[in-house]
Symmetry: C2
Subunit: 468 residues, 2 copies
């Protein structure tokens, strides 16, 4: 090991740098200390000598030294000049080898991370989520959003804001924000690590991720044409602590959970003391009957956590959702939300409140329901015309996506990859399974796909399917 | 147990209700089924008879019945009329007693919640956080925020938004948002349940809450005039997985961590493989030297997670902060953030980017530094004049709060309660301890208190102190 020389090296400065000279002097000396190139107690040149040597003003050197003294890197004693602080840990770190690449390389070398981390699956490549064109799932028709109205509502609250609108707010917000965050909060309140949770199979990956992150063990429960198969769930994992369901429009298959399954699920929850997490992400768009009653409204035992979102009706980047929770859980939800991010942003919520109260919300919803209804009809018609009888269309009674399912071991993953290469963003059904896929097909979003582009997009999709 | 009668009860409707009549018929029958007042297979009156009985249009009854059939509560067979669906679980739930208050009462009865929940401490009463007047901690001078500029930036992005600005975005955001959320993400990435984490004693309760929520065990480490006592931490809990520190302006005592402690902390982290979580919540306001170098800048081993926030410089309800993390941790932070709330709201970030790029940020920061410097000088001067020599002022070199500390078992908690009753929002130092408080005093925020009101507020505070 090399020892630092008796006298610290003079620092070098760069006159062309945007960094002020005093800051350069400060940083060079600090680096020398941190890197172990000088020793505690070592004497420094006088500010006068250093200024002459570097050809800079002595004021500049004094500023740097004062800061180094203030931060405890240097110490200055009457009659003794300035020395590297003796309180610095001696031999704290060995002198570094001269390799200038060392720090960056060490910084980048792979490190053993934590054993729990596989609970969060790192995103593998999902090319079908890579673009924003035809059939991209979960994409509303944002170009139809009344942006001018929204802008004026934001301006109303931001131009002359009340102080309380800018300051810290209530963790409950006008509404808790973001349905994904609502689920994250719910998982933290209701679940202990190791608890089992029913999840729909196939189902929504985002929900699985956040439940896994809370330490839950996922118990996949199959869905059939009536939604979650409660009997199968009880057979596989009767003592689950919670069930995560999308009863109004199952994600991704799109069926609505039947009344008998709803009652059976609530009965199971009541008998076993389990919770039911109802994710109602797009039930406002229903084309053949009025919006279906939520599980939450059937619940007589305060076992249902209802999660809604404004992402599909307004726009996703608003990041605003809401929860309906049993009264006795409110303090715990508040505490978890507060620990998580204290409280939601206030201005967008104020704008949203006005948007609802002034009737814009209802108007926009009705307009969008007609628009999506038209897109859906166009899509269903085009699929019927273009696709063979081997494929069935399901889940089109509500929402902004439907599923095309096939028989047998249909290569939906390969098709989705090829479709993505051609600018068609269809999601393979097999990617929605936790275990081995039992159904294959493609999930097609039509919220962000105009009726005019649908026929040719379906035609192109047929060619992709036919050539695979 | 009573059995439901052979023929289901006729439903009753309320003509004065805002609820449409078909919806009332639908809901009354659904309730009868959910409450167990009718049995699967029971026959229903004909739509004609029911319409006549209720004196409503047959179309109304038909709409309700169609919905009940669509949702699976009723079933209809050719020639057999409509019956309560036989697929409903029979005897699913016993008939309810006639008490109309039963459901609400059961809904409110206390339930055993989860054993882990004490990890999140429910907020006890903290009256000193109840108001927004003099000395409220963490309150910036929001009335000086350039709201008109901010409003026009928001309008710029919201009036004619790009579709990508409204749609789903990147989990990394322009910047990850909210320093509390940054800490929540950090805790989820770095910590397993049961890991020990050093926290400053006294320290920031919000950090403790979120670390506890991640299952961490908190190891309180005392702070002295140099900040965190690293030697004490190593003696008490050498194998902690992480240290949470506020080195630039310790919360709540306000000292700056010395250079030797910084190097000692980083050395401990390097040797033990621990992480250092650096929460830099207000270091932009420093009154006697230039902003102090972050631990993150001293780190040669990619062990520091740096957390910053815009809450204090812009306004808290923006909910926007940022993280500086080692490169190899980026994918895990992205995955956790995505599971937590997918991605941050886009419009405010776009406005913030312009706010910075167009120089408004720097201008506002300089203006606020002068303003807070003035408020701080006024406060320190008033405290020196009004308070006896038993009290010391510490932590005033930076930030927006300082601490007044006392000797012995000073009743700071009682004083803060009495002060709150008189509209003075001072935080008792003892409330910042995880264990038994070793120092007592009051924490005074001056960010949201004008220089004009400070002298009289300090005078009133003296009277509270003198009378306790």
């Amino acid at each position: 090991m090399k020892r630092a020389p008796a006298f610290p090296p003079l620092v070098s400065i760069d006159r062309r740098s945007a960094q002020p000279l005093y800051r350069q002097v400060y940083e060079r000396y600090r680096e020398a200390i941190v890197d172990g190139r000088v020793r505690p107690g070592q004497r420094l040149p006088s500010t006068r000598a250093l200024a002459a040597e570097l050809r800079i003003s002595r004021i500049t050197v004094l500023s740097a030294f004062e800061q180094l003294v203030a931060e405890g890197y240097f110490e200055s004693r009457v009659g003794a000049g300035t020395v590297v602080a003796r309180s610095l840990p001696d031999e704290l770190r060995p002198p570094l080898p001269p390799d200038p690449d060392r720090a960056p390389r060490r910084r980048h070398r792979p490190r053993r991370l934590l054993p729990r981390h596989p609970a969060i699956r790192l995103r593998g490549p999902e090319p079908w989520l890579g673009g924003g064109g035809a059939f991209r799932v979960s994409q509303p028709a944002v170009e139809h959003f009344p942006a001018a109205v929204w802008s004026s509502l934001l301006a109303r609250h931001s131009r002359n804001p009340l102080a309380r609108m800018l300051n810290y707010g209530d963790p409950m917000g006008h509404r808790p924000s973001g349905s994904q965050q609502a689920l994250a909060i719910t998982a933290r309140v209701l679940l202990d690590p190791g608890h089992h949770v029913w999840v729909e199979e196939p189902g929504y990956r985002g929900a699985r991720d956040v439940l896994s992150m809370a330490g839950a063990r996922l118990a996949p429960v199959p869905v059939d044409h009536e939604g979650l198969d409660v009997t199968a769930g009880m057979a596989a994992c009767a003592r689950a602590r919670a069930a995560y369901v999308t009863p109004s429009h199952q994600y991704p298959l799109g069926m609505t959970m039947s009344a008998s399954r709803r009652l059976q699920l609530l009965d199971w929850a009541r008998r076993t003391g389990a919770w039911v997490i109802e994710d109602d992400y797009d039930s406002e768009y229903r084309y053949e009957s009025f919006p279906i009653g939520a599980l939450q409204g059937l619940d007589r035992d305060a076992r249902v956590i209802y999660i809604g979102t404004f992402s599909k009706i307004l726009f996703p980047s608003l990041r605003c959702g809401y929860l309906v929770i049993p009264l006795d859980l409110v303090p715990r939800f508040v505490a978890v939300r507060e620990a998580m991010d204290i409280f939601p942003a206030s201005l967008p919520q104020a704008a949203l409140t006005d948007f609802i109260n002034e009737g814009e919300f209802g108007r926009h919803l009705r307009r969008m329901r007609a628009l999506y209804g038209d897109r859906r009809a166009t899509l269903v018609e085009a699929l019927g015309r273009e696709l063979g009888s081997d494929l069935s269309v399901i889940g089109d009674a509500a929402g902004m996506h439907l599923a095309v399912t096939a028989r047998g071991r249909w290569p939906d993953h390969v098709m989705a990859l090829r479709a993505a290469q051609r600018g068609l963003w269809v999601m393979p059904l097999s990617s929605c399974y936790l275990g081995p896929p039992t159904r294959r097909g493609l999930v097609l979003g039509y919220g962000g796909t105009t009726a005019a582009e649908i026929p040719s997009a379906v035609h192109r999709l047929r060619r992709v399917i036919a050539s695979t």
